[in-house]
Amino acid sequence: MRPFTYERAESPQAAAAAAAKTPNARFIAGGTNLLDLMKIDIEQPAHLIDVNGLDLARIEGTDDGGVRIGALVRNTDLAADARIRRDYPLLSRALLAGASGQLRNKATTAGNLLQRTRCPYFYDTNQACNKRLPGSGCAALGGFSRSHAVVGGSKACIAVHPSDMAVAMRALDATVETVKPDGSVRRIPIADFHTLPGNTPHIENVLTKGELITAVTLPKPIGGHQLYHKVRDRASYAFALVSVALVVQANGSGRVALGGVAHKPWRVEAADAELPKGAKAVAARLLAGAQTTDDNAFKLTLVERTLAATLAEAKERTA
């Protein structure tokens, strides 16, 4: 690991200002992804701004009947919160499907949104990767691409976003709240927060230099049956091959988002309208324009079947 200087932030705005003025600075909260990447020289900060002492670890109601989740709320605490379990069970389920108990105790809400891909070619510093070193190429395209993206990818990158939490937040229409170095705040709909790789896969979200996530808000609860199904190579503590976040109302309408298939949590609003027609129609709309490799083409079938299983379970619960 390269040497770095270290400070503890006094306030969100001070943290943002420090990150903007210090060359090559990074925020650190849980650190479970950042330190992992620093150890193998993929992340190389010269300065770390520890935001753990900031007052951003609360879960509280909002004026419009929704909930504000502080950026530093740990994944364990968010999943276990009584209001989240009752009103947004999809979010609890997605969080509990991710990582291990030890990691969830450390990992934060904002850090989970910002985690980097687990593409093995991104992690292997002897391989070409446009995300790690722009312009070096993409070893995944001609390599083992079983875990990679089937929609929204580009010739520069077919990595997937690893988060389960973000998939649930996408289905729940979350908003990301930030503070900028000048103290101004902004609210970013989660649909616009993560970016597709295009020619700039090293850019993964719309945050600007120094901008710090302070909270994630959810609109008022939408009810319905909320299910998160994650398909992976082992039953626990593995990243998704495919995951489905589903909310179904009594009248058959609902929402669906996918994990494990794209560079960002994947939702196509037009696909929601197909829910009464069944999994095949929904999957066709979600995966329109899919570009697969020999290794990952199975994900198209897996999405449809996982959707069908999730819809069937929702129906069972209604009966």
């Binding site: 650190i28 650190g31 770390l48 030890q102």
Partner: protein, 215 residues
């Protein structure tokens, strides 16, 4: 033997390194800051002071900022019960309990834990006054080589506390009901601790016995 900074390889050492690592030395690493001077990074180690309570004793340390909590425990406080397995949060051998929560001590910096209360395997119990979980692992033979055991035991102690604190898991059926103990719950909740000897069934028996005694 006096420690030396010189690299002295025997022929056997070179053979052990194997073709792969030799290739890695020869190939340029495709990382952003190829040279040490890149990115305006400081090239000199930086130290910082941190104080924490470890197993009930105050510790005042001055550490390289890069020092993980795991390395601080092992190399600076000489509490070598906590083990380094993968050093990337994948195996759970380094699990310790910080402010009541189990974490991977390899994935956190020591300087981030000013004022923290840390419990390691040495702090749970000692020879002659074992923690009930330590005693149960001995009784049920919950290990073979023993390397993952300190992490398994710290994790197991915390798992029972998490169930008591009504923290649900991936296999919890009803999120609105209170979390409860079962073997399925233990399997899911202990998935961050790998045992390559495969002592899992005995580990489960040990945890079940302690949970039964506590209920």
């Amino acid at each position: 033997m006096a420690p030396s900074n010189d690299w002295k390889f025997t022929r056997r050492d070179v053979l052990k390194m194997g073709a792969m690592s030799v290739t890695a030395l020869a190939a340029p690493r495709l990382v952003a800051g190829g040279s040490e001077s890149g990115l305006g990074a400081t090239s000199k180690p930086v130290t910082a002071k941190v104080g924490m309570e470890v197993n009930g004793a105050q510790q005042a340390l001055e550490l390289d900022t890069r020092t993980t909590l795991l390395d601080a425990l092992r190399e600076h406080m000489h509490l070598t019960g906590t083990k380094k397995g993968c050093d990337h949060g994948q195996c759970g051998a380094c699990t310790v309990i910080v402010d009541g929560r189990r974490i991977n001590s390899c994935l956190t910096l020591a300087v981030m834990h000013e004022g923290a209360k840390v419990t390691t395997i040495e702090g749970l119990g000692r020879p002659g006054s074992l923690h009930p979980m330590q005693a149960a692992f001995v009784k049920h033979d919950g290990y073979q080589c023993g390397y993952c055991t300190p992490g398994q035991i710290c994790s197991a102690v915390a798992v029972l506390d998490e169930i008591k604190a009504d923290i649900p898991s991936h296999v919890t059926g009803d999120l609105t009901a209170k979390a409860s103990f079962s073997r399925t719950e233990v399997r899911e909740r202990m998935s961050g601790n790998i045992c390559r000897c495969g002592a899992y069934s005995n580990i489960h028996d040990a945890i079940e016995e302690v949970a039964g005694g506590a209920a």
